[in-house]
């Protein structure tokens, strides 16, 4: 223990003396019971609403599950596999294929000597 430790212990003791035991005021118990009742009211309301809400949510879950099952059966044929999905995809048909178009063939004629040799 250092000198500082002893001084700190002394300070803790003074702090304890500075925070003496407190006596409860006359309204302590009435206020406490009011707080308990207040929280009970909130808890009761929450519980009352939570039960029907849970029932509704459970019904929605079952409904979604059933719809999902029937939906899977309907969708089986169009996208059974990746290759089927590719085949079904018509986006390739809409793709533009462009190529240089020679609208005036005379502009692209071969040099004269070649033309002659070819004509021969």
């Amino acid at each position: 223990m250092t000198d500082g430790d002893y001084q700190l212990d002394g300070l803790f003791q003074r702090y304890r003396a500075a925070c003496p035991d407190v006596d409860a005021g006359p309204n302590f118990m009435p206020t406490l019971w009011a707080k308990i009742e207040n929280r009970r009211g909130f808890a009761f309301t929450f519980e009352r609403l939570a039960k029907p809400l849970m029932t509704v949510l459970a019904a929605v879950c079952i409904l979604l599950f059933v719809l999902n099952l029937t939906g899977v059966g309907q969708n089986n044929s169009p996208a059974a596999s990746y290759t089927d999905a590719l085949a079904a995809d018509s986006s390739a048909e809409r793709t533009y294929y462009t190529e240089a178009i020679r609208d005036d063939p005379s502009r692209f004629q071969a040099p004269v000597e070649f033309r002659h040799s070819r004509s021969r």
């Binding site: 500082g4 003074r14 407190v22």
Partner: protein
Amino acid sequence: MLIEQELIERARTGDAGAFNQVVLAYRKRILGTISRLIGRPEDVEDVAQEVFVRLYYSLDQLRTAEVFEPWLYRLTVNAAYDYLRRVKRRSESRMADLSEHQVMMADSIAGGRQEDEERQRGKVREFMDALFRHVSEEDRLLLTLKEVEGLSLKELEAIYGAKENALKVRLFRARQRVLKAYSAAKEAGTL
């Protein structure tokens, strides 16, 4: 134990009269502990009521009446912790370190001037509060329970449900931080 275990059992079953008696038996002790944990006399009753409200709604979770006191202390520590966090959020804009005003308070504490007793107490509380700002709220509570409340490591073990060695390490570190802040205040030439 300040009360019979049978009274706790009755309170657990929803007996309002038995719960009233439990509160009356422990009220003074809990108020005192909270007073030292939070260091603000004006809010002690409010925090104590929160402890007993939590006790009322959690009594059915108590395994046996034998562990009632550590259970009650745990509720007290939790309520004090929540309070300190609320207060911290409110006063975050304030300076975290020891201000000149607090340093002057430390000076007056050490000087032992003849002042009004309550004012002097208030200064000690504020000075300790400034020192405790150098540790987390959790460590502040742990340190207060050990050093100010005088609880043993065994009792702390029961309250926190933690191993004694882990608590020792945490206590040592928290104490070192507070000591460092205290030494800094001294070096400032005030103590």
